[in-house]
Symmetry: C2
Subunit: 275 residues, 2 copies
């Protein structure tokens, strides 16, 4: 089964575009969770246990575990094992490198960690993504227009009359030809840009960060995020995944019962992102 | 001490621009080394023991350890501990992300792994590098013109009459203003591009991959690689580091004594890169 087929099956079950983001920052843990890798792991598992049942996918930002060295990665492996089967698992790692290195990155994320999809940078070009693209049962979300405040510094540079991010979208659409395993990362903080990217790449599935704590435009994301052509468009929700991390995790901070608070927040977000 | 000061001290000792690259691929290990993380670690330590005494710095590509999960990172931590003090240690990881994530990447590479410098992608813009740039005793090598065959696909796109990689060089020079902790990754496979980058960013130190197995132009690298202005230009060798990975490691494959073969190869490369 391709990633899109697995995502389609999951969205049929949950009926939402919600992607649960797991980015546990030690300084933002609820009271009662130790600010170390044990607390990080406990909170990540609580997020997955309480929110993943409502989500179409789970995205873990691996840096929050890498910060604790080998012990952090061991923890990440246990957290990944806690994701229910049937819920696509995305490793947000923003990789990409020359061929021999990218091949090992693919092993790290797809084999060792068991990710269904990953994020990657386009800066080195297609050949730096080749080992990921070769795995037609997985998917690569290519960074296109990111959600950070300074994204425009490089991504908005004009190339032959259009911004670089549109050129990247166009290249990614070429990389995806004949195989349905390329998507784009498009921040919800840039809704006009998202419309232009959707028009340029009608069939690429979007992974949309920046909703919630980053203040992205949720209505624009759900209106223009779904694919309008190809295999992704045929899926319920158009292959769109809207990531919510802090918007769910933060609900646990002031709660007497963090698990119940996370579950309620995930339910609200799943409803908001109903598809 | 800044990274450049530590590099300067090291280059005064060894008199070469050689950077030992440690990228141990399980399929390319010498006979007698198991094709697993134990063999990888043993070979990485042999490289460091036999070649680091001749080198100005050691660069490890973390993906070759990440491919083995938490056990691989534990191995990387032991390999890092085997690098002699006084030899700057570069984590080649090509990171960069939105602020809260980049902060954890900085902890992972600089604190948990103890790297003196790291590599990062420019695609997200300066704010995605801010947590690295804030550490003025470390250094960030920003990907500018990489050594892979497909580098031109994105990096050579024309922006306002100049290729994107020159624009990145120009931005990196701005990011470096008032602090000497930004360098550039410039592949030896693109010598004309390297000259243009050097003219655009005269004071940024270069980390140059692509020599040896990738067929880069060594003479061009040593001629145009050294900085021509600022603190890096004041260092012996102009802050240039030329990375050699497979060009040294491969010598061990057919040798009866892999350690002696690596030592001899490193000595030849150090002489070739004498400064």
């Amino acid at each position: 089964m391709t990633f899109l087929e697995r995502l389609a099956a999951r969205v049929e079950v949950v009926g939402t575009s919600l992607c649960l983001g797991v980015d546990p920052d030690p300084v933002a843990l609820p009271a009662g969770f130790s600010q170390d890798i044990a607390g990080i792991e406990r909170f990540a598992k609580l997020l997955i246990e309480s929110a993943a049942p409502q989500a179409a996918a789970v995205k873990v930002n691996v840096a929050f575990f890498e910060a604790f060295g080998s012990g952090g990665i061991a923890s990440l492996e246990r957290v990944r094992a806690a994701v229910p089967s049937g819920v696509p698992f995305i490793a947000d790692a923003k990789r990409g490198d020359i061929g021999s290195t990218a091949a090992r990155q693919a092993v790290a994320l797809f084999d060792a960690l068991g990710a269904d999809a990953m994020t990657a940078s386009p800066y080195l070009g297609r050949d730096a993504l080749e080992p990921f693209l070769a795995l037609t049962d997985r998917l690569v979300y290519v960074l296109c227009r990111t959600s950070n405040a300074g994204a425009s510094e490089i991504q908005d540079l004009m190339v032959a009359g259009e911004p670089l991010y549109l050129h990247v979208a166009r290249r990614a659409a070429v990389w995806a030809e004949g195989q349905e395993n390329v998507g784009l990362v498009v921040g919800a903080t840039a809704s006009a840009e998202m419309r232009a990217i959707r028009a340029t790449a009608p069939d690429l599935p979007f992974l949309v960060p920046g909703v919630g704590a980053q203040g992205g435009d949720l209505e624009a994301a759900t209106a223009t995020g779904p694919a309008t052509a190809g295999a992704a468009a045929a899926i319920r929700g158009g292959g769109l995944l809207v990531n919510v991390s802090r918007g769910i995790a933060a609900e646990a901070r002031a709660a007497d019962d963090p698990g119940a608070a996370v579950e309620a927040a995930a339910r609200r977000w799943a409803d908001t992102l109903r598809c």
